[in-house]
Amino acid sequence: MLSDIIQNRYAVTAVILFGIGFTNLMLQQNLLRKVIGFNIMDSAIFMLLASLGYIDGGVAPIVGDRGFDPLYINPIPSGLVLTGIVVSVSITAFSLALIQRIYRRYGTIEMRELLDRAKKEDD
């Protein structure tokens, strides 16, 4: 059990982080904290992906004059994660912009008050 955890330490950490982020996303009342939880989830997924491509004793995949002699890590997860990080910023920016608009409209970013006020306006 413990040896399994140590063997797969990155994946286990990633799952724990994902759980923490997901819990935050569902349980926090403040919208900004929800966004932070969402970002933690993002990071967890990126970490799982990037750790899959790692090879013990490998070096970064920059094939210079060294030829194919040293062991290189897998470049595919790195490339995928690289694009993912930049997209996660845009998603964060978009949700933060939505939060600003919500604040401008309702004057609060607490979920419960927000629901109350929205309901009151509906009636």
Partner: protein, 299 residues
């Protein structure tokens, strides 16, 4: 709000009405019930409100418990799955298959980029990155829709407050920030350009260089104010650069399709460099655009 839209009005008007959300269904009998079912019991206002509040309270009582259970169960499932995954760092993992081998072996000669990550992002999977750049472009557009100031959504008070804040920032300029920025900004720009242009031979490339470039512009704008930033980056230049980056990428990929879509061959020297530059411009503009829209509501 409900304008009468009938069949005879032009399609443009009808489309505009549809975008605004007040289109009426052409055949109303299909969608609207002819007669409401008769209701004997009508709750009074207080009764209704009390019941709603009760429902909301019940929801907020049960929601945390249900959410916690879901989270714990999901984490447990994921944890057991992860325990059975192949060992970390093993050379014979199924993910290290012939695809990555081929990229590593032939990437340098086929795309002319020694950094295989750049070769993969820009060369082999360039379409992915094109879609990516479009996503960034659209993200800025979406944030613009939400936060751009104009006459419609800005009250005089907000405008007044913004002006006062800017005047205050100009008077009480942060000395430490300005001095640090004066020293650091040239180096940040230098490093950004280095990373941007050396994506082929060293770690870096469009995405990394673009973000650093954007961060440098943000630092400059935060330290020296809007006026001095707008000397080189006003709204017009901004949109031109942003569109130019995306268009450059699209045109280069058009060429790529034309010559067979079989990886960018290295006889087109500098192709990777140009695409890196295009991606870098798009990313840098995205980052600065977010900052400008968030802080002032305009670019």
């Amino acid at each position: 709000m409900s304008k009468k839209i009938d069949e005879t009005s032009g399609w443009l008007q009808r489309f505009a009405a549809w975008v605004d959300g007040d289109r009426e269904p052409p055949d109303r009998t299909l969608l609207v019930m002819e007669r409401r079912p008769h209701r004997d019991f009508r709750p009074t206002e207080e009764e209704f409100e009390r019941r709603e509040k009760d429902r909301l309270r019940k929801f907020f009582n049960w929601y945390p418990i249900a959410a916690t259970v879901i989270c714990v169960v999901m984490a447990a499932i994921l944890l057991t799955t992860v325990m059975n995954m192949p060992g970390f760092g093993d050379e014979d993992n199924p993910i290290n298959n012939e695809v990555s081998e081929r990229y590593l072996e032939h990437g340098a000669e086929e795309t002319g980029s020694e950094n295989v990550v750049t070769a993969m992002i820009i060369g082999y999977r360039g379409f992915d990155t094109l879609g990516e750049s479009c996503v960034l472009f659209l993200a800025v557009a979406a944030v613009m829709i939400l936060l751009l100031r104009d006459e419609k959504n800005t009250t005089g008070r907000e405008l007044h407050q913004l002006e006062r804040e800017e005047a205050g920032a100009r008077e009480h300029a942060d000395l430490i920030l300005q001095q640090v920025a004066k020293v650091l900004t040239p180096f940040i720009f230098l490093f950004a350009i280095y990373v941007l242009l050396n994506g082929e031979t060293s770690p870096g490339g469009g995405f990394s260089g673009g973000t650093i470039l954007g961060a440098g512009v943000i630092l400059f704008s935060a330290a020296f104010g809007v006026q001095r930033t707008q000397r080189f980056m006003n709204r017009r230049t901004y949109s031109v650069v942003r569109t130019f980056g995306l268009m450059l990428y699209a045109v280069l990929y058009g060429i790529y399709i034309f010559i067979g879509a079989n990886g960018l061959p290295n006889h087109l020297a500098g192709m990777i460099l140009l695409i890196d530059l295009a991606v870098g411009l798009v990313v840098a503009c995205t980052m600065y655009g977010f900052y400008a829209l968030f802080s002032r509501g305009e670019i």
